[in-house]
């Protein structure tokens, strides 16, 4: 497994599937593992970009110290009325995306842990310091407030309170994962 290492400290696997790489913005110290799928080649909604500047607006923007694990998929959210048009996907700093997780959310805040095989459905918003447990399905347009522990799918979907010390724990976890690979 070979990685491309950029001057800003990003490590991108050569086996990662990335479309529209010129429209994906990664801040730094971010690791993208093999077979991760970053779908940046989408048509943005007219309201999101000025005329004739479609290519200048990034469709996926990822913050610092993020970690995208194997087979994780990132797709900008689709508009419910016009499925071929998409919004932008914004991911904050210190976000860890587990294996086989699928993200179609509108925005992810800072310090978020997304467990393996979790699914963040279309247009959902996750605020800062949240833990999404493995195999969770966050429904479309759902808003997850700060310091939440999210678990379950469908009728078992639950949002619980998370202790404030997770702010430091998640940050440290994201930093360590980027160093350890």
């Amino acid at each position: 497994m070979t990685y491309i290492e950029t001057s800003s400290g990003n490590r991108i696997s050569r086996e990662a599937v990335i479309t529209g790489s010129d429209r994906i913005l990664i801040s730094g110290h971010t690791t993208v593992h093999p077979y991760a799928y970053l779908h940046g080649q989408v048509t943005l909604h007219d309201s999101l970009h000025p005329e004739d500047a479609q290519d200048l607006v990034p469709t996926i923007s990822i913050g610092k110290y993020c970690y995208v694990d194997h087979h994780a998929s990132l797709t900008p959210p689709a508009y419910p009325s016009e499925k071929h048009l998409h919004g932008t996907l914004k991911i904050g700093n210190y976000v860890v995306l587990g294996e086989y997780c699928a993200v179609e959310a509108a925005s992810l805040g800072n310090r978020i842990l997304v467990g393996a095989r979790a699914r963040l459905s279309n247009m959902c918003v996750v605020y800062d310091c949240c833990v999404i447990e493995p195999d969770t399905v966050v429904p479309p347009k759902c808003v997850v407030p700060p310091f939440s522990l999210v678990s379950g799918a469908g009728p078992t979907f639950k949002v619980k309170d998370l202790n404030g010390c997770y702010k430091e724990i998640i940050e440290l976890e994201a930093r360590e994962l980027n160093v350890l690979g």
Partner: protein, 476 residues
């Protein structure tokens, strides 16, 4: 995010023995608290607080929450103090608790559509423009459309009407009762109450009247049709639920009433005005099997749980300082921990040996902004070979181990923890062995950890999950 170690809170301990659990233990022999093995008294280190005034651990039982602000988790707006649900148009699905999308469905109706399931609801309004919040309209229609509520009202009205008509209703009730008695078989009729027997002689025999019964049934059917709700969903409780508010809470110490945690009132701000979490003061304790020596070091076999008299296990225990202060750590354990299993009791003993009971943990770096610095805060056992930085660091640390396997980093220390497990049973059948093996999986070794730095001076019992490691080692 699962923790290997749990921390014991002595708040359930009887008063006379509580002082022993919070202060420094006696040097001769440790007496563990009586509730040490109670699972309700041990907590994850991330879920408890630390009171700097009392210098003790605070669990959810010995701390008190105080609501700072209430907000809607859907629209993130702050609500008034008296509210329990969002005063705006935020609703959740009664089936899957997902947020509902509210759209005007027509001139005098609103459609609630669930994004997570097929649930939908149409709310009709009296006027085209809403003069009251939609929440009130839904609540009012909930009462009107609630079948049980309407049925109760109808029955009350019926009783009132019959009461006005005089004693006809009461006589009808007594006649119906008599009819039911007559339907009973003869032997059961004889066993009826003595009061009924005395009255039977005076009462005239009433024959079964099918027409009267049918008329009553038709009457009830009519009432039933009248109370059927007109909305799409007929079951009670299937109307949209207004989103319940979430709270931002301060945490107070129940003993000294000092604030332990105080968050910012704004829902989207994650800043704390005051915070004293146990995790920030107490070092993180990680336990693992020594690398590359799974089967050699851990001689214990789960399948031969009682085949040898004494079995030895070695674990690597790492202490990582989360505090930005130099910290003195002292570890102690009781000489022989009796491990109780269901039957027969007290047949397994666990004895732990700590090679270095006292050491200093370096302060956590002020800013972990460089990868070269982050890698130095990770114990050698947890370094991987996936990145160049981790590989270089692992090579640099070769030969840094001191005597008895002790290793020290900038803010961490790793030790070899030797555990002896012995039994008093000489002969054990297969069923007993199975019981022991099953029980061994859940064993936790208690150690007393004392932490001293400029901010705190306290000690507490920790429970290390060695059972999980024994199981891992025996499979390796």
């Amino acid at each position: 995010m699962d923790s290997d170690t749990k921390v014991f809170c002595p708040c359930f301990e009887p008063r006379e023995s509580r002082h022993r659990t919070t202060q420094e233990p006696p040097t001769t022999m440790l007496e563990p608290p009586t509730t040490l093995t109670d699972p309700n008294c041990s907590f994850n280190t991330k879920d408890v607080y630390f009171c700097t005034n009392c210098q003790s651990i605070k669990c959810n039982r010995c701390s008190e929450p105080e609501i700072e602000s209430k907000y809607c988790p859907s629209c993130m707006s702050i609500a008034r103090a008296g509210c329990n649900s969002c005063p705006r148009n935020c609703f959740t699905c009664p089936l899957c608790r997902t947020n509902l999308t509210v759209t005007p469905g027509g001139p005098r109706s609103y459609t609630f559509q669930c994004e997570g399931c097929e649930y939908s609801y149409v709310q009709k309004t009296e006027s085209e423009r809403l003069t009251v919040p939609l929440l009130r309209v839904v609540k009012a229609s909930t009462l009107l459309n609630n079948a049980s509520y309407t049925r109760f009202t109808e029955l009350c009205n019926q009783l009132e009407r019959e009461g006005l008509e005089g004693t006809d209703a009461l006589s009808a009730v007594s006649q119906t009762g008599q009819k039911l008695l007559n339907r009973l078989p003869p032997d059961l009729q004889l066993k009826s109450l003595s009061v009924a027997e005395t009255k039977q002689a005076d009462a005239s025999p009433v024959l079964f009247d099918e027409e009267a019964d049918l008329s009553v049934a038709v009457q009830f059917e009519g009432i039933k049709n009248q109370i059927t709700p007109t909305s799409q969903i007929h079951l009670p409780g299937m109307v949209p639920i207004s989103t319940r508010l979430r709270t931002k809470k301060s945490i107070l110490c129940k003993l000294c009433r000092k604030i332990i945690i105080k968050p910012d009132k704004e829902p989207t701000i994650i800043k704390f005005l005051k915070s004293s979490y146990f995790h920030d003061i107490f070092p993180t304790i990680k336990v693992a099997l020594p690398a590359n020596t799974h089967s050699q070091t851990t001689n214990f076999s789960m399948n031969d749980a009682l085949s040898e008299e004494t079995q030895n296990c070695t674990f690597l225990i790492s202490f990582i300082n989360n505090c930005k202060l130099l910290t003195d750590v002292t570890i102690s354990t009781n000489q022989k921990h009796v491990f109780q299993i269901k039957s027969p009791p007290e047949m397994l003993f666990m004895e732990a040996t700590i090679p270095v009971p006292h050491f200093k943990l370096g302060a956590k770096p002020e800013k972990l902004n460089k990868p070269e610095l982050i890698v130095k805060t990770i114990p050698t056992h947890y370094l991987t070979k996936n990145t160049k930085l981790a590989r270089v660091e692992a090579i640099n640390r070769v030969g840094s181990k001191h005597d008895e396997g002790t290793e020290k980093g900038i803010n961490w220390v790793s030790l070899n923890l030797k555990v002896k497990i012995s039994s008093i049973i000489e002969e054990a059948d297969s069923q007993l062995k199975a019981t022991v093996v099953e029980s061994l999986k859940g064993i936790r070794l208690p150690i007393f950890v004392t932490v001293v730095n400029d901010r705190c001076d306290f000690g507490c019992w920790c429970l290390i999950n060695v059972g999980k490691l024994i199981e891992e080692g025996s499979h390796a």
